[in-house]
Symmetry: C3
Subunit: 115 residues, 3 copies
């Protein structure tokens, strides 16, 4: 059994591979001056990059957890989400309201993918 | 490695199978006029149905995440939970407070099962 | 496919093994009179114990979800977290704010490990 960890910070790894699955950290936008849709686009682009590091991609998603600091941001978040998924190969998903580490952050997404 | 997705909406799949595991979306009650206990019963019945689609069942649960919009709803939710599990084959579980997509929703549950 | 459940209460199992993975429940401090750092230390000690029951340990963590009832508690929680991980073998992680089952609880942590 091998575990592969990518891009560890001091606190967490951005993505970890084990036993045929890939687990990302909760990913937030690098540029928190953007609105919820723009931040979601950033997050999903980063998730694309992290999945690629692990030899997998968004067509293999199995689960996504999405936190927004105001549940009304679900709509602009979904705009970016739907453009990204194109309605194909959709994972199970939960989207709930939660205050995030920085008040400027408008979305955080963690995914599990198969590989 | 095969991934099987069941009942995709525009946004997510209700349940996804991969590598010996089954991941449901965060499931909420179809009839949000019921109280927290009644909504939990609906959610758990729906989870039974989704697990069956994947060839598994509640005796194979490994993990459950439960969100309630008021932590005091944990008690009526647990009444329905305990009647459902019968105290057997219990998964790991976390129950936390979070505002959900619609204010009438009083519980959301996502589970991971083995198959 | 075998599922092994450890230390079930009436409601959930503290940790469950299946298909090469280990899933803990959301773990909280037994002594809720301690501050956030002290409670985190307790939780992580308990996670060590649970992982050991399953024949694995913190070097095999793949994912952690951390809930704090006030996001400002992330700092003292991280002090205990960083002392525990020593910056090595870091899992993916998400830390969000959520009200917990008892107002005295200042942190809840659920982890997934490989074994």
């Amino acid at each position: 059994m091998a575990i592969t960890r990518h891009e560890p910070s001091k606190i967490y790894s951005k993505v970890v591979e084990a036993n045929g699955f890939v687990f990302t950290a909760g990913i937030t936008a690098a540029d928190s001056k953007q609105d919820a849709k723009g931040q979601t686009e950033q997050v999903l682009k980063e998730i694309d990059r992290l999945l690629k590091l692990c030899g997998t991609d968004k067509t293999k998603l199995v689960s996504a957890t999405i936190w927004v600091p105001d549940i009304r941001l679900r709509d602009p978040m979904n705009e970016a989400w739907n453009a990204w998924t194109k309605g194909e190969n959709l994972p199970g998903r939960a989207c709930i309201e939660a205050k995030l580490a920085d008040p400027r952050l408008l979305v955080e997404i963690a995914v599990v993918a198969a590989k």
